[in-house]
């Protein structure tokens, strides 16, 4: 699996007009979109953590679980949208760089797990929320979803940050 597959695809993305423009004519794109990525992460992940802590049963215990979920969701979604757009632009500008980054691939494998965890929780355990909405300590399945959410999203954050270092990298002369 190393070097990673699909190199031709990443090279093709790099030839697209917007990609070329960002890479060669817009030197400030990286700092700009990386900052946007980090700020939207504060909104998304910060509020996801707050909800997870309620699910685990350690914070906001006076508030029903469904209320925390419903009221924070629009803001989590806004954060997720800005993160996705800024992240996609960062990738679009330097696809071959990310192709050669081991931690980028790991991040892209862990992220679907984090999303799967929230979907599974939402369509199974959360369906019975009315029964335990006010309980300071939600059922085990809910706590597990909350812990998994924190662990998996911290992993996504950590692997994303590790992309910035030289470790596990194929250095390319040509983009």
């Amino acid at each position: 699996m190393w070097p990673p597959p699909y190199r031709a695809f990443f090279e093709w993305v790099a030839t697209l007009p917007g990609s070329l423009y960002l890479r060669e004519d817009a030197p400030s794109f990286f700092g700009t979109f990386l900052t946007l990525h980090v700020l939207s992460m504060c909104l998304f992940l910060g509020l996801v953590f707050m909800m997870d802590l309620r699910l685990v049963g350690v914070a906001h215990l006076e508030t029903p679980v469904s209320e925390v979920q419903r009221r924070l969701f629009p803001w989590q979604l806004l954060g997720a949208i800005i993160m996705t757009i800024s992240g996609s632009i960062l990738f679009y500008a330097q696809p071959v760089l990310y192709w050669g980054k081991g931690f980028f691939w790991v991040k892209m494998l862990v992220m679907p797990l984090a999303i799967a965890n929230l979907l599974v929780f939402h369509f199974t355990t959360y369906r019975s929320v009315a029964e335990w909405d006010n309980a300071p300590s939600p059922p085990f399945a809910a706590k597990l979803a909350g812990i998994l959410s924190i662990v998996l999203w911290v992993a996504v954050l950590a692997f994303g940050r590790l992309v910035a270092y030289d470790w596990w990298t194929i250095v390319e002369n040509v983009q």
Binding site: L39, R71, L157, A158
Partner: protein
């Protein structure tokens, strides 16, 4: 004036024992930041009239506060060594100093004006003032986060 002090901090080479120390400290800094910002935004959104509106500002603040303080302590404990490791570079960076001035302002604001508004009885605080305080708080802390990110790029 402070240059010798910054040179001395860098000479301590706080990360010398392991190449994993820098990235590790950085990661804890980011997780602390996310926790801090989550607790901050929950209360600020409530002040803006959204989020957990079935509860009073006071209630939301009380439940968010331990995570705000915990996050801030984590940020300080990791931010200080991260700064010391590259102290001369930080000293020379305008963005670093801008971040420090804004951080100083944000901390003072949070523990005076914002604290007063979040502890007060809502009947005694005008809605407009609550919203202004929330917007200033969000603006200050997002600027601190942006400053931290941009030290390397500006």
């Amino acid at each position: 004036m402070l240059q010798p002090f910054f040179k001395w901090m860098e000479s301590l080479a706080v990360y010398r024992s392991s190449i994993y120390l820098g990235p590790g400290v950085n990661l804890v800094h980011l997780v602390s930041m996310v926790t801090f910002m989550g607790a901050l935004l929950m209360v600020d959104l409530r002040l803006l009239g959204t989020g957990l509106t079935n509860h009073s500002v006071k209630q939301v603040t009380r439940t968010a506060q331990p995570w705000l303080i915990g996050g801030l302590i984590g940020l300080a404990l990791t931010g200080i060594p991260a700064m010391m490791a590259t102290a001369t570079q930080q000293y020379a960076s305008n963005v670093f100093w801008a971040k420090m001035y804004i951080l100083f302002t944000a901390v003072i604001f949070t523990f005076t004006v914002r604290r007063k508004v979040t502890q007060a009885d809502e009947a005694h605080v005008s809605r407009v003032w609550s919203k202004v305080v929330a917007l200033i708080s969000i603006g200050l802390w997002l600027s601190v986060a942006a400053g931290g990110r941009l030290i390397m790029y500006l």
